[in-house]
Point group: C2
Chain length 347, copies 2
């Protein structure tokens, strides 16, 4: 992969950090001090509260470097954390990054990873303000902590939904999971015939959903424009079913979802068929779409119903034990959070 | 080690988190929302800025579970991050924790780790407000991100020292390194004779320095009482020499340290002799003492000189190339940051 290979040992930890953060600029005036001291110094805008969320990503568990380019990994690691800030109806502002590396990584490889993180920071006007770079005996470990801001009255938790609230989702679901299936298939092909070129044509959109997801900061901006504060919100990392059940459980409500209302891209639908997978199951349990799932009171129906960003897929009920999926043919079945593993053993 | 062993798989991620955070209370009114949503919600006290620092600890690199009890590891992982907040002259307020575990860890083992973190949170009145718990293919990985607060004019960076400033250190140095030597020796003994009981008597204080270090929040409080804002400050994680050189480099100054002024505990001194190590070298390069190293203008000499918390060990000069250690016999040698590896190959 690397035309050039510089060993990290030739730079040392401080040299590596200097190399990685060279020319790094801050986008936000609330960032007073970034990388290079014992701690970063930031401030909240007047009246705003701070939001904070952290994720730990381990090679072999959360990503497979045989098909995930390091630049994409860096981008995605940042985005999934920014998505958590969006899920509170906040604006992401800064991140700090912990990075553990074994010596199989070259300086060039780490730079690629950082390029991806830097790209995400630029795209979302977020500042990388600190970090820790260290050795690992076992592959790559990435820890990202994101900070954000929101006015106290705008902050949306998972547990605020009420009986009758509409359940709304942004974008389309299942694409990231199908992208992963394509990558896994090509990995198998490559294992059997190492010279083979991967056949990814026609699947670019799905691969991008998997490799380069986006945080829906645009949804947060649109909610502000609509002066609409959801009653509950979560981002979809583990799959629609799992997240809908989180909102229901934490709100003490039941939930009903209509299969025909679940937004799916045509390409996802067709590829699922090609893989002999049920597209609805991919959308319900696939995960990693990083769309926002939220509830709004019924009197906001008009703001949402024809909005191109949103789909109303169901509603909340007053029975905490209710978890219903109404299928296309009108049957009622239990809404289950299978997660990825469940999906795999079913497929 | 465990009388009882519950597999993590029997609880699942959400069950494990519920178990770990059961009965967790918040100490601070600025903590509005902790564990259990997409992000934590905190606020800064009026006029204060937020400080943030992160560390990533990997098994086999930063700790060795053959002799580090999990409870101590949890305590130390929190403390080293709080120490970074102290090094900015701030008060630590919250932490978030990322935890990756392989399946060799039982629920009981993870609880022990959490008990240590909880103890540190209670000791320092810090709230654990969020986290991420996940699988690892290779041992234990711990990521801790600490937040703190300080008034803008109280924040102390590494780069603010001037020519003539006194160089001051809190506490005594070298103890944590000697504690590690004792543990490494007993590990070797145990390897050769697995039934042997470790002989740690008489070394308790040194072992505690290594296994259960403290963050010097008391020093920050004392500096406030003295109305003394250091011109530069850093905490000693990599050894006195390395940290003094950081202050000098970032301040554009030189530095002179007097060997005879370096504070060392008698027990550390004697144990170093027993191990055929140079006590001064242990104090200069041993690291992990988590004492605070800072500079103050000469006109604050009277506040510091007989203060039981502090030792004046040298001063800053105007020549950025100067890095001098004045030995007990009056010779001048170059102050070198050897780090642990350097120390080991010399020893």
């Amino acid at each position: 992969m690397d035309a050039e290979r510089t060993e990290i040992g030739t730079l040392g930890e401080f040299g590596l950090i200097a190399e990685l953060t060279k020319g790094m600029k801050h986008n936000r005036e609330e960032t007073h001090l970034g990388v290079g001291d014992d701690a970063a110094v930031i401030s909240a805008l007047p009246g705003q509260r701070s939001l904070i969320s952290t994720d730990l990503l381990c090679e072999g568990i959360h990503f497979d470097l045989t098909y995930v380019p390091l630049k994409h990994l860096g981008y995605k690691a940042v985005v999934v954390n920014l998505s958590d800030i969006c899920a509170m109806n906040g604006t992401p502002t800064q991140i700090v990054v912990g990075l553990a590396l074994s010596n199989r990584f070259s300086v060039e490889a780490v730079k690629e990873l950082y390029d991806g993180m830097r790209l995400a920071c630029e795209r979302y006007k977020v500042d990388l303000v600190g970090g820790d770079t260290t050795s690992s005996q076992a592959g790559l470990v990435l820890s990202v902590t994101a900070m954000g801001q929101a006015l106290p009255d705008d902050i949306v938790r998972r547990g605020g939904a009420s009986d009758g609230d509409l359940l709304v989702v942004s974008g389309e679901l299942g694409g990231a999971y199908m992208g992963l299936q394509i990558l896994e298939r090509e990995k198998l092909v490559f294992k059997e015939a190492p010279g083979a070129q991967p056949d990814l044509t026609g699947h670019e959109a799905l691969l991008e959903r998997q490799l380069k997801p986006e945080a829906r900061t645009d949804v947060i901006t649109e909610l502000q424009r609509l002066e609409l504060v959801p009653s509950a919100m979560i981002d979809i990392s583990d799959g629609l079913a799992s997240e809908a059940l989180h909102i229901a459980a934490q709100s003490g409500c039941g939930v009903r979802i209509h299969e025909e209302k679940i937004p799916m891209a045509e390409q996802m639908y067709e590829t699922a068929r090609e893989f002999n997978l049920d597209p609805t199951l991919c959308a319900l349990s696939g995960g990693e779409d990083y769309e926002l799932l939220f509830t709004v009171p019924q009197d906001r129906y008009e703001d949402i119903r024809n909005h191109p960003m949103f789909s109303i897929i169901g509603h909340m009920t007053d029975d905490p034990k209710e978890r219903t999926l109404i299928t296309r043919n009108g049957m009622e079945t239990e809404l289950k959070a299978q997660g990825w593993d469940g999906l795999k053993s079913d497929a």
